[in-house]
Amino acid sequence: MRIGMKAAAAVMALATGMGAGAALAKDITVALVPKVAVPFFDDCNTGGAEAAKQMGVNYQWVVPANTQGATQVKIIEDLMARHVDGIGISVNEPKSVEGIIKQATAAGIKVVTFDSDSANSSRSMYIGTINKQAGVTMGNTMAKALGGKGEVAIVTGQLGASNLNERIDGVKEALAQYPDIKLVATEGTEDDLARAVSVTEALLRGNPNLSGIFGISQVGGPAVAKVLAQQEFSDMKGKIKVFAFDDLPDTIKGVKEGFIDGIMVQRPITMGKLAVEHLVAQIKGEETDPQNVDTGVTVVTADNLDSYTK
């Protein structure tokens, strides 16, 4: 039994040794695991597949059937059994994958997180939007559009969502440098379009001097655009500056029709591409001290609506 264990350890050492030395691209296999099947991740897949093709490595895209933490754990187990060399994952539940990521990295598999992090796991790096930074970009863009003065309001989604609260922190940090910009209200909408519309209506009626609205979650853009399209608020179009998050069809339509001045768009294609590139570099031993990467946001306006890249 003892000898068997030793033999197994030797084989494992040999295997990992070979893994580290696998310089030939065609022997390398990397897998990306999204949270769930939504268009955002289709873009990640596009970026990942392209990068893998360019680098000549094998590439797998493994979509979980649901958002439970256990499902992603099972997928990583399967990928370990199939001896992939690198795994990039957008984490559904940061805590639940910590254990399995530890096992994977101990077995010599390179692991990075993209889009959604598990900060306390043993993954080598995180690649994605740093939400606070995105909020700072949004706040500065608004301040510039307002010429540094005016009353503004925030329309957010669920009050407890950490990514949204990080964006709000960023917005506030940016606005702190503009003493003539006053944040008069912050309203939650539970990410419900109907609620967001009635909250925005009341916001506009209760604050007639309002000159800017931040749509922090993805319902913000469509909701504000729909409200401003109504007869009652027709004189506010153009006068009130609106910045929103995420390029949903209705938000893009709002930009085209002049109700929304700009959208902060995340870069899922870049996330997928960088995940594969960094994994391959780590597998080849070319990257030894990986640092987190903020993929940032593109500010999409009427000018670059047809040409922006993700």
């Binding site: 009050l159 539970e190 109907a194 009635s198 009626r205 209760g206």
Partner: protein, 320 residues
Amino acid sequence: MRVLQQLLQLRQMREFNVLIALVLMGVLISLFTPYFLTVSNLMGVSRAFSLTAIMSIGMVMVIITGGIDLSVGSAMGLAGLITALCFDAGFSQYVAVAAGLGVGLAFGLTNGLLITAIGLPPFIATLGTLSIGRGMMYMITHGVPLTPDTPESFSVLGQGYVGPVPVPVVILLVLTLVFTIVMTRTRFGRHVYATGGNENAASLSGVKVQRVKLAVYVLSSTISALAGVIAFSRYLSAEPASGFGSELEVIAAAAIGGASLAGGIGSVLGAVIGAALIGEIANGVVLLNINTYAQQAITGGVILIAVSLDVLRNRMGGRG
């Protein structure tokens, strides 16, 4: 003299107390902001609460039979989504609206049969369909809103006006009138009250209790589906989470309006005014720039105070 008598009669009505709460709340909000008592705000508020109010009409009938319908939000959301899917597939608006209402019918029949034929408690049966409906919405949308092209004439339902009054509010008024008559002037209405008051006694005196129950669940789901079609017409976007959680507000509206969750007591008008009170408070907390984190707690507190005053007033008036 006659007018005075009628006014006194009005005072006897349970709805009258909720109406007083509604008016007092309006006065209170107006004291602090000049933007509440404007035609555009009042019409906006009415349109905002009209969907909850429409759904509460169906809910109050279910509650009067002693039941509960937790699936109204799912029926609403799924109906809007199916309507959107029909537009997406190129069907005419009539087919799309009919399909949406059909979803409601299917929901109602499922709920009704689970409750009457199998004998599941209404809470469990409608909790199950609530969950199935939500799941189907996620399966269909994959979490992304569906925004098909729709003809101009369809958007009238949710976005149009009759004079200064938004169309959804007109629909609400019509439904309120129709179902008030149904509940107070028809045999079906009396049977609904009898079923909830004392099911055995009702059954013994010839009321077809099971059939009455089936009917109220079908009505509740179909009315909710109508609200879903109107919501889709208003926003022209079928949201993956549309209607989620709305059951609580709808049930609250019926209860604030005087319906007893034990059955037998309640009225359509009361439920509608209850929905108006909730909508008025939701509008007020934003107009007054009350901290968003405190809004929910304040809304709950105000509702409890309003209903407690109603109950106390009734008790002092010698009625229960």
